[in-house]
Amino acid sequence: MSTVIPIGPFHPLQDEPANFLLTVEGEKVVDIEANMGYIHKGHELLGQSKTYDQVVVQTERICGICSVSHTVCFSHAVEDLLGIQVPKRAAYIRTILGELERCHSHLLWAGLAGHFLGYNTVFMWAWKYREPVLDILEALTGNRRTASIMKAGGVRRDLDEDHFPRVLEVMSTLRTQVKMLLDAVIDDPVIHSRTKNVGVLTHEDATDWCVVGPTARASGVDTDIRRDEPYGAYEDVNWKVIVWKDGDVFAKVAVRLLEIIESTKIIEQCVKQFPKGPILNEVKHIPVGEGIGRYEAPRGENIHYVRSNGTNMPERWKVRAPSSVNVPSFHASCIGESISDVTITLASCDPCYSCTERMAAVVSPDSKKILYSSADLVRMGQEKTRAIARELGRPPELPLKLDL
């Protein structure tokens, strides 16, 4: 007999209406349906009554975690329409800020994933390692988040090179801290039990559902906009695309942690070879036309489409954040999983909180009573980890060394 279960929010401390309705038989998930709209504010409609510079300001508030991604992606769309390139210095600035954002976003996710698995220490440490990254962002742009620095044609403000020695220091420390986290994760048998072969998204399903970003790369799909349609400084620095084949939660964890390490190397190279020159290729008028811009956000390919009718406001602006294509892949990766594994499976594709809004709880299809709340489901996941730890004779928390 089937029961419908809503899946709870990613916010560890909130209990809100569900976004996903799971149908379960016994302990296994047999179907999943989305129920969204809580965060929907109508960005695209709003953008049609704003000038292009105002749209950049609005774009930054699509998602707080990946605000640089959306502003640069929109700028790419306008630059594609105009057929212009940005100056080299502006390209390096965009790359440095974009990679710092990738570091902070993956660390944020690592903390939440740790919480869902029951390792609250990982949550605290990951978010503590994230703080120096936000400090550098504040030193360079004036704000921890929402840099307000992007513009079609380049950037508005220059970076002060006096901060660069501190940037190098933080990147070097971060790399050591993330390597420590990675070693602990790769070697821990409890984490292996909780994440290996859990929430598997096969290569075929990843292609069929058109997933992007680390979710796709963890399933063996070799896609990365930084390499496929190079922008910024990515053609001038040495870096590699991280691809794993297994498609399970473990692969997604590993891909993201390894990407933080790659990002630190990219930032270091950009800082060391930071070019001189102008920062803006000024745009005076947007003619009739259309343009498509892409960007590799922390969650995957971000794509914006802009159509201009020659006025100073876009006729049509379309935003597709990466989570819009990653989240539906739950239809493939969640089916067949047990309830206690669903939270980590859903979290593993790193749905941008503001893209996927909140998750839901379990409701009986007949009585409409809540059978399991979202907090219950998170707790079930954490209890499963503790049970496995007890079986294997391991401590309930990861035995990580204290802060370096």
Partner: protein, 148 residues
């Protein structure tokens, strides 16, 4: 019992409700728990249910989908309570002033069901964790002024 006296007997318990924001403010609120800011050392505790809360922390402009839920949560919080609007979107809708699906900032939604509600506004996009902590502390201090 007024709020300040109630809060003094034990430290203020806070329930966070994120409405339709971009989550920058929600993440800065969560940041307050992390080791650098460690809001729990001041006794400010985030609770899992509105029924245990003294302070309601609201972020984001309120989209149509969220309006009923915010009203329901406000009704469940025991009175007197303080509603703290975190971030420019919660103070005044910010860039979403003309958005078609946004009903209004949280104070408009809550005043419609309780005209006597007390609000505290912490602007910023997003406000830094220090500003959020200072906002809550200042709000409690100003209530102290009202008591005496």
């Amino acid at each position: 019992m007024n709020l300040f006296r109630k809060a003094l007997q034990r430290s203020p318990w806070v329930f966070h409700v994120g409405t339709s924001g971009c989550n920058n403010c929600d993440i800065e609120i969560l940041d307050c728990l992390t080791p650098r800011f460690d809001v729990e050392r001041f006794g400010i505790k985030l609770v899992g249910s509105p029924r245990h809360a003294d302070i309601l922390l609201v972020s984001g402009p309120v989209a149509s989908h969220c309006k009923e839920r915010l009203e329901q949560i406000y009704k469940e919080v025991p009175k007197p309570c303080l509603v703290v609007c975190v971030g420019v979107c919660a103070c005044s809708m910010g860039v979403f002033k003309d958005a078609y699906s946004v009903e209004g900032p949280p104070d408009r939604v809550i005043r419609a069901i309780d005209p006597e509600a007390t609000f505290v506004y912490i602007p910023g996009c997003p406000p830094r964790p220090e500003a959020i902590i200072m906002g809550i502390v200042k709000a409690l201090q100003s209530l102290d002024g009202k008591v005496s």
